[in-house]
């Protein structure tokens, strides 16, 4: 057994522990992440700080190395599963402590498509960034999206597809939103391996997001624009 395997996480100071958790996330070590999260909470850290400083920051590094071709899908999945372990501990605590809310998103894979690795990563990173995420799963028909939008009233609709044969269904959903006159009520983000920016434009989405990190940044940017225009509207009403 190597020296690293024997590392006692509780012997590290906060800074060292957070650094170690970034390394453990990178290496996909779920149990170590769960242990690190518990130690930080025992030391009085706010759940939101554990989430952002230890987990989200660690996944941000993983995302950069994935984009740069240093890490590949299996390593990212291992890291995501480790983060999931930490999130499971933090989720109820975040709800109790009233962590900041960035907005709400409904997300699902389109009809005919059962792939959800990318979608799950986006869901997790969006949640980590403070969005409330309603994940409606895979193989969703127009009616599923419409029902979820009506029930949850999100700010953002996310659609995912892995197959060339299923990605055109995004246009079907967006056209249905237009027909019902509710297209402008939502920011529509699309993503998936065979998609590209031109496709996103062609189907009438607000943006194509090439990975989970871009999805989070894009969602934040749309939310701040929305809040900006809402504020401007209020000011105009007061004039």
């Amino acid at each position: 057994m190597s020296e690293e395997d024997d590392l006692d996480l509780s012997s590290l100071n906060d800074e060292e522990l957070v650094q170690q958790m970034h390394d453990d996330l990178y290496d996909g070590l779920k149990e170590e992440i769960e242990e690190g999260v518990n130690i930080l909470l025992e030391r009085g850290w706010q759940p939101y700080d554990v989430l952002t400083k230890a987990l989200v920051e660690g996944m941000r590094i993983v995302g950069i190395d994935f984009r740069d071709g240093i890490l590949f899908v299996p390593e990212v999945l291992m890291a995501a599963n480790a983060m999931k372990g930490g999130m499971a501990i933090l989720r109820p605590l975040l709800a109790e402590t009233g962590a900041p809310k960035m907005g709400k998103m409904v997300i699902g894979t389109v009809k005919g498509d059962i792939h959800d690795i990318g979608k799950n990563l986006v869901s997790m990173m969006m949640e980590g960034a403070g969005f409330e995420v309603v994940d409606i799963g895979i193989n969703n028909a127009v009616e599923d999206y419409l029902a979820a939008l009506e029930e949850h009233q999100p700010d953002i609709l996310g659609m995912s597809a892995l197959l060339t044969t299923t990605m055109p269904y995004m246009k079907v959903v967006i056209e249905a939103l237009k027909e019902k006159g509710i297209r402008s009520d939502y920011v529509v983000l699309v993503g998936g391996a065979p998609l590209n920016e031109a496709f996103g434009e062609a189907v009438g989405a607000d943006a194509y997001c090439r990975d989970a990190a871009v999805a989070v940044e894009t969602a934040k940017s749309f939310m701040s624009r929305r809040q900006g225009s809402a504020l401007a509207g209020l000011q105009a009403a007061g004039d």
């Binding site: 299996p74 005919g112 059962i114 060339t164 496709f199």
Partner: protein, 217 residues
Amino acid sequence: MPGESLTRPSTLLIACGALAREVKHLLDVNGWSHMTLTCLPADLHNTPQQIPGAMRRKIRASRDRYDRIVALYGDCGTGGLLDDVLRDEGVERIPGPHCYQFYMGTDDFTRLAEAEPGTFFLTDYLVRHFDRLIIKGLGLDRFPQLRDDYFGHYVQLVYLAQTEDPELDKAAQAAAERLGLIYARRLTGYGELETFMAEAGHGDNAVQPVPAMRLSR
């Protein structure tokens, strides 16, 4: 026959490496000596964004030496970008998003995909290279616990057999067990691949231009 001349046009087939064995076989058994096969590496499927550029380079490097060039490729996850390149270069492609469809036939494939979206397909090539492309390619040799992340929503594995080969059948069955999927086998032969090659070899108008994969507003 209209469109057929005594001298058949020299034709270059640019194929995915995953089709090399099958295309070579069809060229040999049909005596299509006027058609030449060249391939792009099958491993490009792991980085589909590199396929359009590799195809363009191959076309441009070969154009002067052939009467016509034909692409034996699916869209293969390029999201329509391969078709953009082929349209720019005036090269026709066998219709369909991937080889499963043209082996099985468009109608059959569409019916099956709609009836059970959770179908994972193997071809002769994929059965032969299952360990390298699927197990190692997805990192399941290092992280077997990821199996359900990848295949949790799949229900069945359908082996689309190009040839009668009991060894491949056995290997495909073992692959299904390893992935935890119900196993089924369909003997497709070469399907639309053979028809398309025959038409391409005549140099007539039977080969239709590639339909646009992308949608326009």
